[in-house]
């Protein structure tokens, strides 16, 4: 027996050791622990491209304006007021005069604003979003607290661009002092200042003691990247995290039934769809594309597969997008689909590969589509492809004849409507290859006028005609869903899942 004693002793030691540390199942006063899916890539606002970076950064670096909490209305921030000339080409922004940068980097001045915009477009930084303010002809400081921006052409969505991360104001002095190291210690004017980061593990913004506006309500916020959804779930249930995003319908139902947790779901800025390359057989035949719209039961998909994770698409754009029109209407009628296929000369149906990115978000609906289309004689072979390879191929001359994907949008339609609808965007972003002079004219008119009534009218016409091509079959708008413990108060989720924490409190 004595030989067995050693493993037994080792086990006992492990158990004893295990009881030394215990996981916290209660809130930490003054601290919000947020679980995010992706790792932080950079904290330099001008270099940012992913939503996780933006979530953290919005608490640290402020823009001239921002979106109101929970929606996409613009409100003043570092610019207390602004005016625009009659021709829409000259914008003047008055800055607040009491904003100071973190860690003793001095007061915010118009020079910092000019520096930030020149930094974004300059060659030295090679910033990915440099084209965001490509319409700027010049920018200058007209006083220590006023800047004037001259545009080459009117830009109806300028304020939305100024509410985005790439245009958040940085301290000129700090950037010049720190160089590339600025991303490791970003200096802004926000309610929280950067404290520390353990790469791949946590980022910690702490309260900015000299904040110019209403003081931050938390002492600190900890953002932890957790790539595996089961770990996110276990961590929020154990209380190691206060708040996480939800992407699983079973878990969503569980959280909704749990009285200790609060679920906040709002329609997100995504539309999931099936796309066709309208220039290749059999999708070059409009009857085939129309037949497919009758063959898919998307209500069934949204009710029984997504179960609260998404909302049936009633527009090309998500509900929160300005000037979106509810043009999407389909009826499920497999018999009509079969009749249309007969008219198209495909009475025996056909076989086709449908490409999808290799995650459940796309494979699951693709499987449902496969079953529906099989009933009308269309045999789908679902081919999962790694996302980056997928997007690169889809955006190339080659493209995919049939695929399933979701597309993200902005609060204003300007950027995406140009990219998706214009014939000049074939093949990079106009994947269906829709080339229609009327749509082109409407879109160009809407993009170049400041008159919102005209924009609403021409964008609506463009959406209606674009939809009628059936180059895409729009399935649903994915929701932005967050679950948090009830001790987290005053948090408001939004369509971008942007996790603003300046008003959040922890109340055990």
């Amino acid at each position: 027996m004595h030989r067995l004693r050693q493993p037994a002793a080792a086990l006992a030691a492990i158990v004893t050791f295990a009881t030394v540390g215990t996981a916290a199942a209660a809130p930490t006063p003054g601290e919000l622990k947020v679980g995010v899916v992706a790792d932080i890539s950079t904290l330099d606002p001008q270099l940012m491209t992913n939503i996780t970076d933006a979530s953290v950064s919005q608490n640290i670096n402020e823009g001239l304006v921002r979106f109101k909490l929970g929606n996409f209305e613009i409100e003043p921030l570092l610019a207390k007021s602004w005016s625009v000339s009659q021709d829409g080409l000259t914008w003047t922004f008055e800055l607040v005069d009491n904003a100071t940068f973190h860690k003793g980097y001095g007061p915010l001045t118009a020079d910092d604003v000019v520096f930030t915009f020149e930094r974004l477009t300059g060659d030295a930084l090679k910033a990915p979003n440099r084209r965001l303010i490509g319409s700027f002809a010049s920018i200058s400081a007209t006083s220590p607290h006023a800047v004037e921006i001259k545009l080459g052409a009117p830009d109806p969505s300028l304020l939305v661009k100024l509410a985005q991360r790439a245009t958040a104001i940085v301290s000129k002095k700090a950037v010049e002092e720190k160089g590339a190291g600025f991303a490791l210690d970003p200096i802004g004017t926000g309610p929280y200042q950067f404290d520390s980061r353990v790469t791949g593990q946590t980022v910690l913004p702490v309260k900015h003691p000299a904040y110019w506006g209403p003081p931050a309500t938390l002492d600190k916020g900890t953002y932890t990247p957790v790539p595996v959804s089961s770990t996110l779930q276990v961590s929020v249930e154990a209380g190691d995290l206060d708040m996480i995003p939800v992407e699983d319908s079973v878990k969503l139902a569980e959280y909704e039934a749990n009285p200790e947790l609060t679920v906040q779901a709002v329609p997100g800025l995504w539309t999931r769809f099936i796309g066709f390359k309208d220039t290749v057989a059999p999708f070059d035949n409009p009857k085939v594309r129309e037949a497919i719209t009758y063959a898919i039961d998307r209500e069934n998909m949204v009710d029984n597969l997504f179960k609260g994770l998404s909302t049936l698409a009633d527009g090309i754009f998500a509900p929160a997008v300005l000037h979106r029109t509810p043009v999407v209407k389909y009826s499920y009628d497999p018999e009509k689909a079969k009749a249309l296929l007969v008219e198209a000369g495909l009475a025996d149906g056909f076989s086709v590969d449908m490409m999808v990115p290799n995650t459940a978000r796309f494979i699951d609906p693709a499987t449902a589509v496969q079953a529906d289309l099989a009933k009308v004689g269309i045999k789908i072979n679902v081919v999962p492809v790694e996302l980056n390879t997928f997007i690169t191929t889809l955006s190339s001359e080659q493209g995919y004849p049939m695929y399933l994907l979701a597309r993200g949008q902005d609060p204003t339609p300007d950027r995406v409507i140009g990219l998706w609808f214009l014939s000049s965007s074939i093949p990079t972003t106009n994947w269906a290859r829709i080339s229609d002079p009327e749509i082109d004219a409407w879109v160009k008119q809407g993009l170049s006028t400041m008159d919102e009534a005209v924009r609403a009218d021409v964008f609506a016409k463009a959406q209606e005609k674009f939809f009628a091509y059936n180059g895409y079959y729009f399935i649903d708008h994915e929701n932005s869903i967050t679950v948090h413990h009830n001790w987290v108060k005053n948090f408001v989720n939004d369509a971008r899942n942007s996790i603003r924490i300046d008003k959040v409190t922890i109340e055990p």
């Binding site: 004595h2 030989r3 067995l4 050693q6 493993p7 080792a10 050791f17 295990a18 009881t19 030394v20 540390g21 215990t22 996981a23 199942a25 790792d39 890539s41 950079t42 330099d44 270099l47 491209t49 060659d123 090679k126 990915p128 979003n129 440099r130 084209r131 590339a180 991303a183 353990v198 790469t199 791949g200 593990q201 946590t202 932890t224 957790v226 790539p227 595996v228 089961s230 770990t231 276990v234 961590s235 154990a238 190691d240 995290l241 790694e386 996302l387 980056n388 390879t389 997007i391 690169t392 191929t393 889809l394 955006s395 994907l405 597309r407 993200g408 990219l419 998706w420 990079t428 972003t429």
Partner: protein
């Protein structure tokens, strides 16, 4: 011994060069584009081209390779396309958690695997032997992501003994506490392998003449097994542990994902998915270096364990 070490290190240089050539070109062969990842599916062709040119990604491959090889020759691993930080720094920050995890995995494999193998060999053919064999088969066959999720659910979520995620908050105990479940997850498959290898090496050793002599001298069973037989069975065990270290480094990717630990595996995976070429190249280079070093250590250990093996 020192001469052997030097000789092996010099021999490693062409291996490393071969590794970086392969890494450079294989990574470029993967379809996809880091700028597409950066700008998303809504970027226009002109935008993508502009950023690609600015980042030097439109230069011909041989030009890019020369730039890359020149940098490596001077010890510069380059700059990440996404974070714009030096790759060496990114790696350095994540090296410690991964090395801790890999060592933890090795420790679990040895501490649990060797006694299990010895026990099975000493009680060959009995219920104990069958139980040990069964446990090791289970260890090899159950995938580590499942083991990780089960351990996390039981010991972190339900019992609250260990944190569900992260690598601790900095202190020694916190780091150790956060290391237990990931190390177990990583080490169980290695444990099974070590147990099986130990068992067969021990069975062979226990049949040797010197064991019969030791038994005849009236030594205790424990002394015969641990002192005489195990020492002689150690060489194949050390070799298998060394070889297994490479598998453990690969296994850290999954374990780091499940326990949301920062580490090289996670860094490599993210970089691959985003086509962050400099980071992929840097991490692969480091893994090649680690492999070569571990093999060197195994080679150097063998003469210490068995004086008959000449350095």
């Amino acid at each position: 011994m020192a001469r052997l070490a030097l000789k092996r290190l010099l021999a490693a240089i062409p291996t490393l060069f071969g590794a970086i050539v392969v890494v450079f070109f294989v990574v470029q062969l993967i379809p996809g584009d880091p700028v597409r990842v950066m700008l998303g599916e809504n970027a226009s062709a002109a935008e993508v081209e502009e950023v690609r040119t600015a980042l030097g990604l439109n230069d011909p491959l041989p030009v890019q390779f020369l730039r890359f090889a020149g940098r490596y020759a001077t010890g510069d691993l380059g700059v990440s396309i996404f974070s714009r930080q030096p790759v060496a720094g990114e790696i350095a920050q994540r090296l410690a958690p991964t090395v801790q995890l890999a060592l933890g995995g090795v420790l679990v494999a040895i501490v649990l695997g060797v006694p299990m193998g010895v026990l099975a060999a000493a009680r060959r053919g009995t219920l104990v032997d069958h139980l040990c064999l069964g446990a090791s088969t289970l260890g090899v066959t159950v995938p580590n992501f499942l083991i990780g999720i089960l351990l996390s659910f039981a010991f972190a979520s339900k019992l609250g003994w260990f944190p569900t995620l992260g690598a601790g908050t900095g202190g020694f105990w916190s780091t150790l506490n956060a290391l237990v479940l990931p190390s177990l997850t990583l080490g169980l498959a290695g444990m099974a392998l070590v147990a099986r290898m130990t068992r067969s090496a021990m069975i062979e050793a226990l049949g040797e003449d010197y064991v019969r002599t030791a038994n005849a001298k009236g030594l205790s069973q424990r002394r015969v097994v641990y002192w005489h037989a195990l020492r002689n069975a150690a060489i194949p065990i050390v070799t298998i542990v060394g070889l297994n270290f490479g598998h453990l480094l690969g296994g850290t990717v999954v374990v780091e994902l499940i326990f949301a630990r920062p580490g090289l595996g996670k860094l490599l995976l993210d970089a691959l998915l985003a086509r962050d070429y400099p980071v992929v190249q840097g991490v692969c280079f480091l893994i090649a270096v680690l492999f070569i070093l571990v093999n060197l250590i195994v080679d150097l250990l063998q003469p210490l364990l068995d004086p008959r093996v000449q350095p």
